[in-house]
């Protein structure tokens, strides 16, 4: 049975990592590229027979493969069991397929870097951890993968370790996601205490049997798990790490901070959808978190000047759409958007990478412009990716985002939810156009650097761009029939029809037209708005990501540092300092009696003896 090859898929990247880690960078670039990209490529190839085998199974059944039992303590038996169903199949393809394209791209992009081998070792470890996350049949194994991808994210954000700022960004990402992970661990503890198992399928069954709808314990557990998802997926209020995470190499941003890891939260909630169906409060919280994030991040993306930060905020916003979809019950649409987003956002990041490389590591869009003729490959990639991002009709993003918006319209309070999300969709089109206009059209502003832009992409970098472009355009035609068997809404719905459908489809077009007017025709006016009066304040507010970093600095960092300063001479330390001081004093006294004079010792001895004698005789 070819589906039995499943265990090899996570093993290959792990072997790649082990090989690269064991050789400690002594291999040449070519060998590293073959191992690093090849292991993921083989995994993607193996996904073909596994998928074929999966469809030969009777419909509506998952395939599980137990590798070994991890622990066996008092009835707690988490096993390394891989579980494949429609949902994990889609994730499997996204991780291995898009992952391989990005690895292939990175073989060219990272060429010449002294840490070439280290880079691919981390990347392979990441792919392994991500596969364990989506294939684990036990929440403990999922958590292993969850922390594994967090570790790789940390290692890769701080990859260029010569600059302390990158290390700071890496620590920030690690610490902020750790807050969410702690909430998630608490949620897992709670579920285990109440249900006695962490194996996903039995757990979902037990939860449905044990708790009525709206149970307080269940709601708490679901909210705690949402906390983990929020941290990992950079949603409000733990979103501040993602823009800074752009310090990592661009393929890392494409793979980890756009296509796969940051969507782990979406996967977690989709996987545990039974819990959220039983806890409507938690599900509403998911929807509102997504809605707030997609709205805030869209406006923040509108004013950024660093090309990667634009894409980072855009990622945040698109994952907000996924959370929003999960919250309003468009489960399949959320996973659908996860997949199409992986295609077009990876494409956008890889194009941005080519662009940055061609401009000699220039990331500021204010120092670009008029580049479309000189850099046709990045231009084509960005054009296609932006079209899909803006959800222009018949691109991949169009199908998934429209499914989300139209399903949201039918949810309770749907008109308002739909309106806010649609406004953000308009802004999405606006910032996509702004990015294209600033980078590729208008007056060239890159001459100050004195260096000609040079497209340095080889075949290894162009092939992924071409493949992802095709996927970004045509990815919407993939039916998600396997997911339909897993998720409760039975596949991507078509939602509301009539004027709502027309309005939803037309908004991105309107946004593109408006964007062309604003940034192409009236570009000078808009630029002046950004530097004067009240609009300047708004621009700076959005530029800082709605001031969340500032807020956290005031609310958490400052008081913490102040407290630390007050308690610099630790209260507890005082006790020990007193002990040490006392010991020193007594030591001084005693050592003063050691005069080195023999007769003095003798006199003491005689005196002491007399004293003892007197006491024994009862005189004293």
């Amino acid at each position: 049975m070819s589906v039995g090859l499943l265990w090899l898929i996570p093993m290959l990247p792990l072997l790649g990592f082990l090989a690269l880690a064991a050789t400690e960078g002594r291999l040449g670039e070519r060998a590293v590229a073959v191992i690093g990209a090849g292991s993921v490529g083989l995994a993607a190839l193996l996904a073909v027979p596994v998928t074929v085998g999966f469809f030969e199974l009777p419909a509506d059944t998952g395939f599980s493969q137990t590798l070994w039992v991890w622990l066996d303590v008092a009835g707690f038996r988490p096993a390394f069991t891989l579980y494949l169903d429609g949902l994990s199949l889609v994730m499997l393809w996204v991780i291995t397929g898009v992952g391989f394209l990005i690895h292939l791209y990175a073989t060219g992009y990272m060429s010449g870097d002294p840490g070439y081998s280290r880079f691919f070792a981390y990347m392979n470890l990441f792919v392994f951890a991500m596969l364990m996350l989506v294939l684990g049949n036990d929440l403990l194994v999922l958590y292993l993968g969850w922390e594994g991808v967090g570790l790789c994210s940390y290692l890769l954000i701080g990859f260029f370790q010569q600059d302390p700022a990158n290390g700071y960004a890496a620590r920030k990402a690690f610490v902020v996601t750790r807050i969410g992970d702690t909430a998630m661990a608490l949620g897992l503890f709670l579920l285990f205490r109440e249900l006695g198992t962490l194996e996903i399928q039995p757990l979902l069954g037990a939860a449905t049997a044990a708790w009525p709808e709206g149970s307080a314990t269940l709601t708490l557990a679901a909210l705690l798990l949402l906390g983990g998802a929020v941290g990992k997926s950079a949603q409000l209020p733990l979103q501040t790490w993602l823009p800074d995470a752009m310090a990592g190499p661009t393929p890392v941003s494409a793979l980890i901070h756009a296509a796969t890891m940051v969507t782990a939260g979406v996967y977690l909630i989709a996987r545990l959808h039974d819990l959220y169906l039983l806890a409507p409060v938690a599900q509403t919280a998911v929807a509102l978190t997504g809605l707030a994030t997609l709205f805030i991040a869209a406006f923040a993306a509108l004013v950024q000047t660093d090309v990667k930060r634009i894409l980072a905020y855009s990622t945040m916003s698109q994952i907000g759409y996924m959370f929003f979809a999960l919250g309003v019950g468009a489960w399949s649409a959320a996973v659908f958007h996860l997949m199409t987003h992986a295609f077009f956002k990876a494409l956008l990041f890889l194009s941005a990478g080519s662009l940055i490389l061609a401009l000699h590591h220039e990331q500021e869009v204010t120092r670009m412009g008029g580049l479309w003729r000189r850099l046709p490959w990045p231009f084509a990639g960005m054009l296609v990716g932006s079209a899909a991002l803006a959800a222009l009709p018949f691109t991949s993003g169009y199908f998934s985002k429209d499914a989300i918006l139209l399903t949201a319209f039918d949810a309770p309070g749907g008109f308002w939810l739909w309106s806010v999300a649609l406004l953000a969709a308009l802004v999405t089109a606006l910032y996509s156009v702004r990015l294209l206009v600033l980078v590729f059209f208008g007056q060239p502003r890159w001459q100050q650097s004195g260096r000609e832009p040079r497209d340095r992409g080889g075949i290894a970098m162009r092939l992924p761009l071409a493949a992802l472009s095709l996927l970004a355009i045509g990815g919407g035609w993939f039916g998600l029939s396997p997911v339909a068997a897993v998720l409760p809404d039975g596949g991507v719905g078509h939602g509301h029809g009539g004027w709502v459908m027309w309005a939803t489809s037309a908004t991105p077009l309107l946004g593109v037209l408006l964007g062309l007017l604003l940034f192409q025709r009236w570009g000078a006016v808009v630029a002046r708005l950004g530097t004067s009066g009240g609009t300047r304040a708004v621009r700076r507010f959005w530029l800082s990501g709605w001031g969340f970093d500032w807020l956290y600095r005031q609310l958490i960092e400052r008081p913490f540092v102040a407290l630390a300063r007050i308690n610099r001479n630790d209260v507890v330390d005082r006790v020990f300092a007193a002990l040490a001081g006392g010991a020193l004093g007594v030591n001084g006294l005693l050592s003063a009696t050691q005069t080195g004079r023999l007769r003095w010792y003798l006199a003491n001895m005689a005196g002491g003896l007399a004293l003892v004698l007197l006491i024994v005789l009862g005189v004293l």
Binding site: S591, T595, R597, L598, R599, L602
Partner: protein, 104 residues
Amino acid sequence: MTALSVPLSHVLALAATLFLIGLLGVLIRRNLIFLLMSLEIMLNAAGLAFIGAGARWGTADGQIMYMLILALAAAEVAVGLGLLLQLERRLGTLDVDAASELKG
């Protein structure tokens, strides 16, 4: 064996007096030779007390103990004189207070 004609209390008083004289000598004198001599007096005071007690109860234990003390005193003098020679050689003096480098 004739009974002891001197009362034990007199013997013990003499021993105590001798012991105190020796102790005072050790405490007051700084010259190592006099120190050793004073130590001999203290040892003999202890020996006298043993002899007196042995005579009082009519056993040989006291005399055996005195012989042990004699041997001990001989050994002590041998070591003490060796130390005395070393002191003279290293410090050029017999003053024990000069050898006080090992102070706290």
